[in-house]
Symmetry: C2
């Protein structure tokens, strides 16, 4: 049976799965969830028994197709709630995540479908992340790269933010960067890998730490 804990494990494992390496390590998940690593080993066995996860001792954890479907379902709920709370109640970019983090576990499929319908079956959430469809498919983001990898003199649009740390979102607010903001790369500084961009007719400099967590889409070459 699915519980809150299990849903959170699945989400965490999912977030460490890439095309290159689908394996999540015990410590990664432990840190992500702020839980001891022994608890992770334990849970890995349970999820494995339920067929949600492929788990071999000392070899890492990997979602099965079944587990991935379950994870996407939770992510769908999370992102729909985020968008809904922003659009309807006018919550802030930085406020929605925490609320959604709870509500995602306590909404029936029925309610989520109603929200989806209300919003017109949107493809992306307020952070620019794709909202998995009911059937498990994931809307594609076109030509997205890290801001850190953007090229000088090109123009980009801010598409998505790695929101693991909400400090980043607060930082962006202060600097005046929003989702869909247009930014032109003015200069890339080899010395500290910072990047100088022009937004709203102002030049600002972003550290590597920031540009490594922002995703952009090329709009003018």
């Amino acid at each position: 049976m699915s519980t809150i804990s299990k849903e959170n494990y699945l989400k965490a494992i999912f977030s460490y799965s890439t095309e290159l390496d689908n394996n999540a390590s015990t410590t990664m998940i432990a840190n992500h969830l702020s839980i001891s690593s022994s608890a992770i080993s334990d849970m890995a066995k349970k999820l494995s028994k339920e067929g949600l996860v492929k788990y071999e001792k000392y070899k890492g954890i990997m979602l099965t197709p079944h587990g991935e479907k379950a994870a996407l379902k939770v992510i769908r709920r999370h992102r729909l709630w985020e968008l809904f709370l922003m659009n309807v109640l006018g919550l802030d970019w930085s406020e929605v995540h925490n609320e959604a983090e709870k509500l995602e576990h306590y909404s029936t499929d029925f309610l989520i479908d109603k929200i989806d319908e209300y919003l017109g079956h949107p493809d992306f959430d307020p952070h620019g992340h794709p909202i998995p469809k009911k059937n498990g498919s994931i809307p594609e983001i076109p030509n997205v790269i890290l801001l850190a990898e953007a090229e000088t003199n090109n123009k980009y649009e801010l598409i998505s933010v790695n929101d693991k740390e909400s400090e980043l979102i607060n930082f962006l607010k202060k600097v005046g960067l929003k989702l869909n903001s247009k930014l032109e790369i003015v200069d890339k500084l080899d010395y500290d890998n910072s990047i100088s961009v022009r937004v709203n007719k102002k030049n600002i400099t972003l550290s590597k730490k920031v540009s490594d967590n922002l995703f952009v889409r090329l709009i003018e070459g």
Copy 2:
């Protein structure tokens, strides 16, 4: 600390408190929550230690002012969610309760205030029940009596439904009765205590079981 279980206990105890008798019995709460009565005794001790409840062995359970405040807070969350889901997402009378039953435990005060504001600080929920205010006060319903106690030839408005059993709500839907429906008492039948009322130009007969769970307000004498 407040947990989901504790919140549900407090709500249950509250629902058995009247002006006449503020005491809730172990079995009443056990039935209400579908939980063994031993679990109730256990929890009563815990809540008592936290000062939320006055509990004496074999003498019943009673909310302290502190506990009542906590219960009203949960009820407020529940009723605001109900109204919100109906108004915004168009959920049905019979659908909102179950959703709200979960969401009420996982909403921050911040979110609830936003919902309250969005709805324009409403006084009553979709079932006609008063929504406790943030400060703990309860909006008054004027001149409300049980339909079972209504008098022949008078006109009443349906104000509130005892929604402990959702079957009743389904029944009302079928019969065509809604909140704020106007009904005229045509006859009261002594034989089985059923009551004959005129609604929307149709006469229908309601059993004692039904009329004991509907609250009405006199509109014409």
